[in-house]
């Protein structure tokens, strides 16, 4: 195949991925369960665990942004895919002349964009309200974009399980999401955790996303931004791989 045909094919796949993302955006962003899990949930967590305690704003706000991105980006896959499977519209995606990865990438994009939008809104609101200053724009951009992609991929990976009920996947997702909040330095800094907690936190992508966010606000971070970037990209790739394996295994 010559260079030109290959580029054309790549463009085609990209366009198809965007078409899938666009459709998900139109259909699922404004559904009540999506909004509840994406926005209400992190806020509830935030007020329950952070407000009223002696936590400095510098820790609080990056944490709030991190968990809203975490919850919103990962919610789209589990609410969209099972419904699509139930009405058999997923079959259309599978039998279309596109790569299975294109389907996954399209879905990841819709989740990631959702995370980005919600995260940016929270950010835009909290900066003036709390009179916060940004000290590292690059950290902010990296943090927002990579976290959105990585957490969206986490949701898609679980949504590849052949379930037709969003609640099933959401349950499993929350089983993973909730514990991660407490060991990823959101409300309690990682270095204040007991030794085992610190060890576990190293395996949570949220730790690195939140570290980038703290870099953005405070200008300091526990890890080098390069390491955090690499870890988030690595997690995303691993989720993609596992998601595709699940998809292949479970299809008739």
């Amino acid at each position: 195949m010559d260079q030109c045909a290959r580029r054309l094919m790549f463009l085609e796949e990209l366009e198809a991925a965007w078409a899938i993302a666009k459709k998900d955006i139109k259909i699922y962003y404004l559904k009540a369960p999506t909004l509840m899990f994406a926005i209400l949930f992190p806020f509830a967590m935030f007020f329950a665990f952070a407000v009223g305690r002696e936590v400095p704003l510098n820790t609080l706000i990056p944490g709030l942004v991190s968990i809203t991105v975490f919850f919103s980006a990962s919610s789209i896959g589990p609410s969209a895919l099972p419904l699509e499977r139930r009405i058999k519209a997923y079959d259309r995606l599978v039998s279309a002349p596109i790569s299975p990865y294109t389907v996954i990438i399209g879905k990841v994009l819709s989740g990631a964009i959702f995370g980005l939008i919600i995260g940016s809104l929270i950010l835009a609101a909290s900066l003036p309200i709390f009179g916060m200053q940004l000290s590292n724009l690059l950290g902010l951009l990296l943090g927002l974009v990579l976290a959105s992609l990585c957490f969206s991929m986490l949701g898609i990976m679980l949504a590849m399980l052949p379930r037709e009920n969003p609640g099933d996947v959401m349950l499993l997702l929350n089983f993973i999401r909730l514990p991660l909040i407490f060991i990823s330095g959101i409300f309690i800094k990682v270095d204040a955790l007991p030794y085992w907690g610190q060890a576990v936190s190293a395996f949570s992508p949220l730790t690195y996303a939140n570290d980038l966010m703290r870099l953005a606000f405070e200008g300091t971070s526990a890890f080098s931004p390069l390491l955090s970037t690499a870890v988030l990209v690595g997690f995303s790739a691993a989720f993609l791989y596992v998601g595709r394996r699940i998809d292949m295994r479970t299809r008739g």
Binding site: I87, A89, V94, S99
Partner: protein, 315 residues
């Protein structure tokens, strides 16, 4: 001409159940091919294998010579698929549904829009194109689903029970569109429980029972397979008096029964018998008042094939 579909030894096992059991046949390009069989016979499973949704346990399937497993993308590009359920997006408008189908089938924007317009017009949905499909009736949803399958002007169209559960108007409209697309060169592969529909529309039909092909031929030829049941009913007027004995002498006629001024001629080859009958009438100065060929219907063939195969399997 290439074969639009060619399957050899295609098999799907679900545990111990052979949903599709080593089936092999070809569908030449340009044909309307009907796939008939009782519930659970394996029709949908076959289509799901042919469209790359399900991996065969054994055997191969080719679409225009392209292997559906190894050259999936190229093969899928030639197809349009209408599923058993109308799997449209209820939250999107008819127009948006069609646009989406066009996008994932790589149809350029201009072409997509002209085609969507044309299809919605054909299906009488143009006035409702901005409405959400969730509010559409069953028949309207099915029409949207068929339009989505046709958005890429496929060379091969799969339809799984396209007309089941719809009213007469919807069915007629859908059949017209299918015939029309076929006339323009699209090969059609459809499943149905409506035997009359298969009889009218299909160039050839395959009958599948418990995962096995039990017959495959044109509806005409299939009806001939139950030879004894074919007959011609004829009535005369004129001066001469026909006799049973004479009618019995006509070529290919095996038995004659007369009752109520009508004669019933049993034959294994109605066209030949009819010619003989004409000659006979002319020679005897008789005029034929009415003639009726009574055949076994496709339904009789279907019932006999699907029930006998079932008995055969049990023994």
């Amino acid at each position: 001409m290439p074969n639009a579909v060619e399957l050899s030894g295609l098999t799907k096992a679900y545990g111990a159940l052979l949903a599709v059991d080593h089936i092999s046949f070809r569908v030449p390009e340009g044909e309307i091919f009907g796939f008939l069989g009782p519930n659970g016979a394996g029709k949908t499973t076959t289509i799901r294998m042919l469209t790359g949704l399900v991996t065969p346990t054994e055997g191969t399937a080719k679409i225009f010579g392209l292997d559906i497993q190894n050259e999936a993308k190229e093969a899928k590009r030639c197809m349009g698929i209408v599923w058993e359920e109308s799997n449209v997006y209820p939250e999107l408008s008819a127009w948006e549904n069609l646009a989406f189908a066009g996008e994932i089938y790589h149809v350029a924007k201009k072409r997509r829009e002209t085609r969507a317009h044309e299809l919605l017009e054909m299906f009488g949905l143009l006035a409702r194109k901005e409405d959400k499909v969730g509010g559409f009736s069953k028949g309207m949803k099915r029409r949207v689903a068929i339009s989505m399958a046709l958005i890429n002007s496929p060379r091969l169209l799969f339809l799984d029970e396209p007309t089941s559960g719809l009213d007469v108007q919807s069915n007629m409209m859908i059949r017209d569109v299918i015939r029309n697309e076929n006339r323009k060169g699209t090969t059609v592969f459809l499943t149905t429980h409506n035997i009359e529909e298969a009889n009218q529309m299909c160039d050839r039909v395959a009958i599948i029972n418990r995962g096995k092909i039990v017959a495959i031929d044109s509806p005409e030829n299939l009806r001939k397979t139950i030879k004894s049941a074919q007959s011609i009913e004829v009535s005369f007027y004129g001066t001469g008096e026909p006799s049973e004995g004479e009618l019995r002498m006509i070529q290919s006629v095996s038995r004659v029964i007369s009752s109520g001024g009508k004669f019933r001629l049993f034959t294994d080859d109605p066209p030949v018998a009819l010619e003989g009958l004409w000659d006979y009438a002319r020679k005897r100065g008789l005029r034929i008042m009415g003639v009726n060929t009574l055949g076994p219907t496709l339904e009789e063939v279907y019932v006999s094939l699907t029930s006998s195969a079932e008995v055969g399997r049990r023994s």
